[in-house]
């Protein structure tokens, strides 16, 4: 289960709407409590590094941006616990491409943006054997 603050939800929605019709992306910062309960109260938006003509359905975060975010998280005494991205005009369900590129451990938040308006936000975790994504309970 992952719990995010209303502010985190609002910021992800705003990022998704701002970058529409392209995909937005960034990191979720927070803590992981016992029993793998996750709490996020902050995000680090990151520039989608995919070339412009592909950014409507793809995102990539460069390794140097990852390292920078990890240092920023540590400076705030937090951890990167997940990644958010948007699916413009598409359901918030992991794609085969997400599965191919997904990492275990992280909570993958996916925001559906319909006609430029933020819609449903969901969370997913990659199975350790890479067989698929499992839905993760998301609370705001």
């Amino acid at each position: 289960m992952i719990s995010i603050t209303k502010q985190v939800q609002d910021r992800i929605n705003a990022e998704g709407e701002r970058d529409y019709p392209n995909e937005t992306c960034g990191f979720l910062l927070g803590r992981i409590e016992r029993n793998d309960v996750r709490e996020s109260d902050d995000i680090i938006p990151v520039v989608n590094a995919r070339e412009t003509e592909e950014a409507y359905h793809r995102f990539v975060i460069l390794p140097q941006d990852f390292l920078k975010a990890e240092h920023e998280a540590l400076a705030k005494n937090k951890n990167i616990i997940g990644i958010y991205h948007s699916h413009p005009d598409h359901p918030p369900i992991p794609s085969d491409y997400d599965l191919e590129h997904g990492l275990p451990f992280y909570s993958y938040l996916i925001l559906s943006v319909k006609d430029g308006k933020a819609d449903k936000l969901t969370s997913w975790r990659l199975e350790n054997d890479r067989s698929g994504f499992a839905a993760e309970e998301l609370k705001v």
């Binding site: 990539v60 491409y97 590129h101 997904g102 890479r130």
Partner: protein, 92 residues
């Protein structure tokens, strides 16, 4: 022997360790040594064809091995090898 730093996402496969050691003279040998010590990490680093997955970046010190000859990049005693994920995804 090189020190290999493991990103948070993959520590579940190294018994929780953020640092492991791998023997080898190249980046490829060092990483393969890590997968031999921790077999479960293999499928997250390499695809079915044995190629390094596109989201796995390997740094020796501050330099990405893409600029050093790829998996053949030389690793010297005491070097620090860092695995850095490039995060990617997207709708169909």
């Amino acid at each position: 022997m090189a020190k290999v730093l493991i990103p948070t996402a993959l520590r579940a496969f190294t018994d929780g360790s953020s640092e492991v050691e791998g023997a080898g003279k190249t980046a490829g040998e060092v990483i393969t040594a890590v997968t031999e010590s921790y077999p479960e990490i293999q499928k997250h680093l390499f695809d079915e064809e044995g190629k390094l997955r596109s989201y796995v970046n390997v740094f020796i010190g501050d330099e990405n091995i893409r600029n050093l000859g790829g998996l053949d990049a030389p690793v010297h005693e005491g070097d620090v090898v860092t695995l850095v994920p490039a995060i990617a995804g997207g709708r169909p």
